[in-house]
């Protein structure tokens, strides 16, 4: 297997005490890869390893065909946008962006010209003299991106680039960042725990749990075919693992689910909470063939819906409209019947 | 005024009794120990001596006074002698500022005068020893210093005591008397630090007291010089007015002036008064 001489080819192994990160990442120039995972999964460690801020215990790291394993961070063609941006508080926006070019050998005037150009491109020309303290969250984020891009990196790393922003700013900044990433001609890797950010910004998702890749693919693929509870929760699906025999899937825990797909062997079955219908009494002659007796474990508002957590024969989440929930007189401990149409389930091999 | 006179008289009486007791005790100390308790009762006419005697003494007295302090404690069980050895001027300053001390032994009449002028002493201070200056050189006298004049050579690093302390004043007196001009590398704050500069080989020579050279043993070599005769220091001792333990203090002064005390002081290099 010959490594591609363009783009990223990495096998990152980092051991730290009992934690072990072992992740393989490849990306072609122009790719935007999102590392998605719960807290402590090792996403940020992976990012730091790519930047050279953490040494590799094992594995390799090649960028455009060049070995980088032993290259110190300052010599790697890598730009990083840190989670809280880490703009140097004593420098103006202009000098923050010019810092990289200056370190790469540009004169003060040259680096300022480069920086001014980047700020212009980010729509921040009028803020070039401002200290980071005076910038809004969104502006600071754009300065951070400009600062990382001003060194013309071959690999752009973004650590939770939108996490520090409030919901309203986030929407705008996300759209802008998407545009900048789309223009970026080299590899971009972003770390996030927010599935929406990942899906909007990235071409490909890599889901990491406990230091290992549990799933990777396009956002659409992952949204439809989650393979772990974490991903299922992220994309808002009920997910079960079982053994398929034709249209019937017998779950490891006992109950069965009838599906549209005709499969055999180990499969995942997924259906959205909105596909669940609840009844206080056992429905008679219901068309749904999937019917389970459950108990309400919890209720919470989820947008304009009520998310009902159910335990019992099959633990699942169901979304109801508020009037529907009121009509059913749901409360914790209430006994209910949950039905799901086979056509609304989706099964796929593990 | 009458009251103070009366008090002085009384103190003197007490002191006399103390001295008698001391003599009795020191007589006993040469015989066996078992009789010492008996002699204690024999001195019951005077107030019983106990407690702590605090002696402020010039730094140069350290070795000999420490010895005498131990002798005193042995002779008077139940007493304890604590010393504060420092530059006489420092001691004088702390006494006049009210430091609780019983006895002050200074290295010069001038520093003693600081205390007596303020009326902090009892009676006239008595000169108990004298000290003569000597040149301390490195062991083996590598620079071949034989006279005070040799110290004026610019290649030599000489330290003197600061003129504010007795050894410095005495050295200045000797230099003036012999019409010599000496520029030292440092005016040290007391005689011990002047000596230490030679002990540590930072300076080639220091003008200090005979007793200091004596105390330093083989770490320095002493060179006597005739001009030192012009600057012999008298060491006065006095009982302090606010002495918390005047009885024992008197006894200690008596010990210093006794033949026994003088023997210890001579052994340390002091001259008889």
């Amino acid at each position: 297997m010959t490594p591609p001489d363009k783009g990223l080819d990495a096998h990152l192994v980092v051991e730290r005490g009992t934690f072990r990160l072992d992740v393989e990442l490849t990306a072609a120039p122009g790719d935007v890869v999102a590392l998605l995972g719960p807290n402590g999964a090792g996403k940020t460690t992976a990012l730091r390893a790519l930047a050279g801020l953490v040494g590799l215990t094992d594995g390799h790291l090649r960028l455009d065909g060049a070995e980088l394993d032993r290259t110190p961070p300052e010599s790697r063609p890598v730009g990083v946008v840190f989670q809280d941006y880490l703009l140097f508080p004593h420098l103006t926006a202009l000098d923050n962006v010019g810092f990289g070019p200056r370190c790469q050998g540009a004169t003060k005037a040259e680096s300022r010209a480069i920086a001014a150009e980047w700020l212009e491109r980010m729509g921040l020309a009028e803020h070039s003299g401002a200290k980071p303290r005076k910038l809004s969250g969104g502006q600071a984020q754009r300065v951070a991106v400009a600062r990382a891009l001003a060194t013309r990196p071959r690999l752009l790393l973004l650590d939770e680039p939108l996490a520090a922003l409030d919901a309203r700013t986030r929407l705008d900044v996300r759209a802008q960042l998407r545009r900048h990433l789309a223009e970026f001609e080299a590899v971009a890797v972003l770390v996030t725990h927010d599935p929406l950010d990942a899906m909007v910004l990235a071409d490909r998702l890599v889901v990491i749990e406990q230091g290992r890749i549990v799933q990777e693919g396009t956002p659409a693929d992952i949204a439809r075919h989650p393979r772990t509870d974490y991903i299922a929760q992220l994309v808002g699906l009920n997910l079960y693992k079982g053994n398929a025999d034709g249209h019937t899937v017998t779950l490891d825990t006992g109950p069965t689910i009838t599906t549209t797909e005709d499969l055999t062997g180990e499969v995942f079955v997924a259906f959205p909470p909105s596909a669940v219908t609840l009844f206080r009494d056992r429905p008679t002659g219901a068309s749904a063939r999937n019917l389970w007796h459950c108990e309400v474990a919890g209720l919470e508002t989820h947008g304009d819906q009520i998310r009902v957590d159910l335990t019992g024969e099959l633990p699942l989440a169901a979304d109801l409209t508020t009037p529907a929930a009121a009509e059913l007189d749901l409360h914790q401990g209430a006994s209910v019947w949950a039905a799901v149409k086979a056509t609304q389930t989706h099964s796929y091999p593990t | 005024m009458t009251r103070s006179a009366r008090r002085t008289r009384r103190t003197l009486q007490v002191a006399g009794a103390g001295a008698a007791a001391l003599l009795a005790l020191s007589a006993c100390s040469s015989s066996d120990d078992s009789s010492s308790s008996k002699s204690d009762t024999s001195a019951s006419a005077s107030p019983k001596m106990s407690g702590t005697v605090t002696v402020f003494a010039a730094a140069s007295l350290k070795e000999s006074f420490t010895t005498l302090g131990k002798e005193f404690e042995t002779a008077h069980p139940g007493t304890k002698v604590t010393f504060n050895f420092a530059g006489s001027d420092t001691l004088a300053a702390s006494i006049t500022s009210g430091a609780p001390a019983d006895v002050f032994a200074a290295a010069s009449p001038k520093t003693m005068a600081i205390v007596t002028d303020k009326g902090d002493g009892v009676g006239t201070p008595a000169t108990f020893v004298r000290n003569q200056l000597e040149i301390a050189t490195l062991p083996g006298n590598p620079d071949k210093v034989t006279s005070l004049k040799d110290l004026t050579k610019s290649s030599l690093k000489v330290v003197l005591c600061d003129k504010t302390v007795p050894c410095g004043a005495a050295a200045q007196k000797a230099l003036t008397a012999s019409k010599l001009k000496l520029t030292p590398v440092s005016y040290e704050e007391d005689v011990k630090s002047a000596l230490n500069k030679v002990v540590l080989k930072e300076a080639d020579a220091a003008v200090v007291y005979k007793t200091d050279v004596h105390a330093a043993g083989s770490k320095v070599e002493g060179v006597e010089f005739p001009e030192s005769a012009d600057a012999i220091n008298d060491y006065p001792i006095v009982l302090l007015k606010n002495a918390p333990n005047a009885v024992a203090a008197k006894a200690f002064i008596a010990l210093v002036q006794s033949a026994e005390g003088q023997k210890v002081l001579s052994a340390a290099g002091f001259l008889k008064p």
């Binding site: 300052e74 890598v78 840190f82 370190c103 790469q104 | 330290v159």
Partner: protein
């Protein structure tokens, strides 16, 4: 009613209300168990200084202060304290960085060693310096025989002694600031192509400037008041090694009035300098 006032004051403080108003409020807002010891502590610190002022020989002051010896000692004190602070900065800031930003075996131990001059009696420090850097010292003998440099009894010796005693103040202050500063700024600089040294110089140094300033002021003040190590290591010679504290000490021997006068000069100069610096630098920290 009082309670209302207090809560009012609290909200005012929380909101970061106008300075003048806050100051007025503090008096009522401070709980007694804190206020009383605080005031006693303040009195404890100020009383001796006050006594110095009360007993100062104001009449003879002018003549005391116009003597050349005083000016010589003052000049020497200011010069040597400033040079000692410079030495502390050049050596102490990198040392603080090493202690705060790197991990090496025995780092805690080294850190404890650095603070040793704080607990060591300065006179012992002076003797130790003599044993190390004196003419016959462990290192000093080589300085003497190779370069003909002897430190004792020289102004350089004064600077060395003062720097020795003052450096821990700077190192501890700067190390504390470094630990409080986010090390990721250095990482950010590195990812932008800065070497570790460039990152330190262009990012960390400006970030910890207030801490460095505070540390320098402490070190300077400590150096200015240094007595024991200086007189032991550098001796006492007017114009060369006799700094103000030495002059004060020796004056105290036979002329306490002169000593008080000298102390007042030292006090006045220190207060002027420290107050000036505080306003400019230390409030920003």
């Amino acid at each position: 009613m009082t309670q209302l006032d207090t809560s009012d004051a609290a909200t005012e403080t929380l909101k970061g209300g106008p300075r003048r108003r806050r100051v007025r409020m503090t008096g009522r807002g401070v709980p007694l168990p804190l206020l009383v010891p605080a005031l006693v502590g303040l009195a404890f610190l100020l009383l001796p200084l006050l006594a110095l002022l009360v007993r100062a020989p104001w009449r003879s002051l002018p003549s005391q202060l116009t003597s050349t010896e005083v000016w010589q000692a003052l000049q020497l004190s200011l010069l040597s304290a400033t040079l000692a602070t410079a030495v502390c900065l050049v050596l102490g800031v990198p040392l603080a960085w090493l202690l705060a930003r790197t991990e090496f075996p025995g780092r805690r131990f080294v850190r404890a060693l650095v603070t040793l001059p704080l607990v060591l009696p300065p006179v012992v420090g002076g003797v130790a310096l003599l044993l190390a850097l004196g003419r016959n010292g462990v290192v000093g003998q080589w300085l003497d025989s190779w370069f003909g440099i002897t430190l004792p009894f020289t102004t350089t010796g004064v600077v060395v002694a003062e720097a020795f005693v003052a450096m821990p103040f700077l190192v501890i202050s700067v190390e504390g600031t470094l630990r409080a500063a986010d090390p990721r700024y250095e990482e950010a600089a590195q990812t932008l192509g800065a070497s570790r040294f460039t990152a330190f110089r262009r990012v960390t140094l400006p970030l910890i400037a207030p801490g460095i300033a505070a540390g320098s002021v402490l070190a300077w003040a400590r150096a200015l008041g240094e007595f024991g190590a200086t007189i032991t290591f550098a001796g006492n010679f007017p114009g060369r090694t006799q700094t103000m504290p030495l002059a004060v000490y020796l004056a105290l021997q036979n002329d306490p009035e002169a000593a008080i006068a000298l102390s007042l000069v030292l006090l006045a100069v220190s207060i002027a300098v420290l107050a000036g610096l505080r306003d400019r630098w230390m409030t920003t920290s």
